[in-house]
């Protein structure tokens, strides 16, 4: 773990090609994209390590980056931003699968799936962006190691505004998130620092979760520190059945099944239901998955400031408090499961279900951990074509398609039957989709995906994907 300055561009370089890449970055070209031009075209021209500067203007496209060391940097001039607009039609704003990539100072709005997503990328930096919904996830790093998400403003997500999924060694610091189902979520991840964020007016402020039916089966060492977690009382409007549809409004911080979660130094105020809730995963999500331990262990609720939480519990939290025979909401609510928890300052707080929380030893603090990022960039092996196919299918296609149900697009079983083994035809279709079904919307072109990736996805769908 490191405690110093944010990563520089060269520190982000691919570790396996450390020297050469650092050298190329030193000489790295700067490409400029002007209003009316295509960002993706610049990405195509760029070499690993190049910097792409985007002038203020309106860009209606998906940007896909699978080269390493690219720095995609917006230029804000006189208050004018480079704006990427998905117009509620495109699925992804910026999609990254290269390593050591920086995405900064872009205003990304109205993408149906993800505003900015990194998938399998290590050593990334997402900074100073504004990401506006409606979208599923505003900022969503998934399957990556060693990242920094800082100084972003994210709002209007149907799920988590900043969603760190199945990742290791990530700092989420100095961001503002609001008007989302969950302000900031760390899901099935390890060594995550969520610090100095302003998380307000969401359904749930900050959540650390251990969720079932995902390939990563544990979630450990998460610090939630020095955040302002306020007024998270928004009504839950998650789509029917969505996993977040259960997020209970009025909740400041949720610790769901994760281990060694530390909650310290936060200002937790005006959340109408409960300040901090600690519970086992299957209290909220019942999909069977015995490969993971659903119980939270070693939660530390250290010194925080709790102010005026629980004044008007609604919905689920109201129901739970009723069952317990409690009028008002509480600062800390636990279901009483898991082991080795502790709580500081107990007498100052209102609590429920915390009988198995010990008093934290005086002086317990997470202060020694200044950052969860690694001291050096982590090794980043290039993905095989098969991996690229599966990752792209997951990141892009599952936003609109599932195996055997109609989502936005037709089910994949139907597509498999239509295309047989003809990978090329499928790869061509997604680059230039034509209208086929009157009762469906139009499928947006996926021509930002290079030919090899489109073929890899096609191969995955036609040869591997099954149910």
């Amino acid at each position: 773990m490191r405690g110093s300055k944010p990563m520089t561009a060269s520190a982000l370089a691919l570790a396996t090609a450390w020297i050469s890449l650092a050298a190329s970055q030193a000489l790295g070209a700067t490409l400029t994209v002007k209003a009316g031009e295509s960002i993706q075209a610049a990405v195509k021209r760029a070499l690993p390590g190049d910097r792409i500067e985007v002038e203020p203007g309106l860009y209606k496209e998906t940007v896909f980056i699978d080269k390493d060391g690219i720095e995609l940097s917006g230029i804000v001039r006189g208050g004018q931003w480079p704006v990427l607009d998905g117009e509620n039609k495109l699925n992804d704003g910026v999609l990254v699968s290269g390593h050591g990539v920086t995405i900064e100072r872009l205003w990304v709005k109205r993408y149906k799936g993800n505003g900015i997503m990194t998938q399998g990328s290590n050593n990334y930096r997402i900074a100073y962006n504004v990401v506006e919904g409606p979208c599923f996830y505003a900022i969503f790093p998934q399957f990556g190691k060693n990242g920094l998400v800082t100084h972003n403003v994210a709002f209007g997500s149907e799920d988590a505004a900043i969603y760190v999924g199945m990742s290791d060694n990530v700092d989420v610091v100095h961001n503002q998130t609001y008007a989302s189902i969950i302000g900031i979520e760390s899901e099935n991840s390890h060594d995550i620092l969520i610090e100095n964020n302003y998380v307000h007016d969401n359904v749930v402020g900050i959540a650390t979760t251990m969720l079932p039916a995902l390939p990563v089966k544990s979630s450990d060492r998460i610090i939630i520190r020095n955040n302002i977690v306020a007024r998270n009382n928004m009504k839950n409007t998650a789509p029917p059945g969505a996993i977040t549809a259960g997020a209970p409004p009025g909740l400041g911080i949720l610790v769901l099944g994760t281990d060694h979660t530390t909650v310290e130094g936060n200002l937790i105020r005006d959340n109408d239901g409960v300040g901090v809730m600690v519970s086992e995963t299957n209290f909220l999500v019942t999909t069977p998955d015995d490969r993971m331990d659903p119980f939270p262990d070693s939660t530390q609720v250290l010194r925080n400031v709790f102010l005026n939480n629980g004044s008007n519990p609604q919905g689920t939290l109201r129901d739970l408090l009723d069952i317990a025979g409690v009028e008002r909401g509480v600062d800390v609510l636990a279901t009483g499961k898991g082991r080795d928890h502790c709580i500081a300052d107990r007498l100052a707080l209102t609590t429920l279900g915390t009988r198995n929380f010990a008093d934290c030893a005086p002086g317990t603090t997470s202060a020694a951990v200044a950052s969860m990022q690694t001291a050096k960039p982590v090794v980043a092996t290039p993905f095989t074509a098969d991996q690229k196919g599966r990752l792209t299918y997951l990141a892009v296609c599952t936003g609109c398609h599932t195996y055997n149900s109609k989502l936005v697009g037709p089910p994949m079983v139907v597509i498999k039957a239509l295309y047989g083994k003809d990978e090329q035809r499928l790869a061509d279709y997604i680059a230039k989709p034509v209208r086929k079904r009157p009762d469906y919307p139009e499928m947006p072109s996926q021509d930002y995906l290079p030919e090899d990736i489109r073929l890899a996805v096609a191969r995955y769908i036609l040869s591997e994907l099954s149910h």
Binding site: A213, P240, A242, T287, R291, G336, E464
Partner: protein, 330 residues
């Protein structure tokens, strides 16, 4: 009273928060959900009287098929309705209804993003209409029969899981607890030994502030084990509780015992599901050799009975599917 069978594994009372959210969100308008309510309708002709019993048996033992279970519930309901003084028939119909709802609840569980929520809700609502009628009839019966009490308890544990608010779920769970306590006081082996371990499960699952009691849960589970050692669901659930109690040795013992239990031909789906859960738990302990044995056993069952559901979660909304790095299922 006719002998009763119970083919559904109650999945726990969790999901309460999830369920409530769904109820709210359904009103919220368009989303990424398949308009699947029409798929909740299934064909269920009334068989001639002489074939009735055989038909119901065939349907209710097709525990992998939602439509068969739905039809079994409907047919037993009709029979119960026509012979309202036959208490055994009312109990049987309530159990069939409960088994059907439990099956749909589990399908919903594996539909992580609720893409087919309209279908699941329509199915459950239909079953609840029958279930409530049967439950009320049985509530009015003056005899305190252990199977009757247990059947009513299971229904209370099952119907609300996905479709009611948190408070209703808790209230129904507590009502179930009282019914089961009465039932096992009269007959510890009520409902083929299921009543006892499910009572243990209630105590384990309830939160501390709602009457949960881990110590009591453990006692009941051990009692259930001593009494009916060959119940796959009980064994798997006990192993889960022992693992959480940091007693992996005992968890391993229970999982190992599952290897020598023959699946109930009347409920092969539960056998396949519990072997999967057991394999997953063994992987977590970790005990790779035991996990392999459980996998082999499940694979053999799935191979011999290809109609059984494999319970693979589908990828949707950037989650699920295979592990994109290894390409393997998990």
């Amino acid at each position: 009273m006719k002998p009763v069978k119970w083919h559904a594994c109650w999945r726990g009372f969790g999901a309460l928060l999830l369920a409530l959210g769904n109820a709210c969100a359904l009103a919220a308008g368009p989303a990424r959900v398949e308009d699947s309510a029409a798929d909740a309708v299934y064909d269920c002709p009334l068989p001639p009287p002489e074939q009735f019993e055989a038909r119901v048996t065939q349907l209710s033992t097709s525990t992998w098929d939602k439509n068969s279970l739905g039809c079994a519930a409907d047919l037993t309901f009709v029979a119960a309705d026509n012979a309202q003084s036959d208490i055994g028939l009312q109990v049987q119909a309530l159990l069939a209804t409960t088994a059907y709802i439990a099956h749909v609840n589990l399908l919903w569980d594996f539909d992580l993003y609720g893409i087919r929520v309209p279908e699941w809700t329509a199915r459950i609502q239909h079953a609840i209409e029958h279930g409530n009628v049967l439950d009320q009839r049985l509530a009015a019966v003056p005899v305190e029969d252990p199977d009757l009490l247990s059947a009513r308890a299971l229904y209370r544990l099952t119907w609300p899981t996905k479709v009611a608010d948190a408070k209703t779920i808790m209230i129904e769970t507590r009502a179930a607890q009282v019914l089961l306590e009465k039932a096992v006081a009269k007959e510890p082996k009520a409902l083929g030994g299921n009543a006892l371990w499910i009572l243990g499960r209630i105590f384990f699952d309830l939160p501390e502030f709602a009457g949960g009691d881990g110590v009591k849960a453990m006692k009941l589970l051990e009692q259930a084990h001593a009494q009916t050692p060959g119940n796959l669901s009980m064994l798997r659930y006990s192993a889960y509780v022992h693992a959480q109690d940091r007693n992996p040795a005992l968890a391993r013992t229970r999982l190992t015992e599952m290897l020598s239990v023959d699946p109930d031909p009347a409920d092969l789906q539960t056998a396949a599901d519990e072997l999967k859960n057991a394999r997953d738990l063994a992987t977590r302990l970790p005990d790779a050799a035991l996990a392999q044995k459980l996998t082999d056993r499940r694979d053999a069952l799935l191979q011999a009975q290809p109609q059984l559901l494999a319970r693979k979660p589908t990828a949707a909304n950037m989650h699920g599917g295979v592990d994109p790095i290894t390409g393997k299922e998990y």
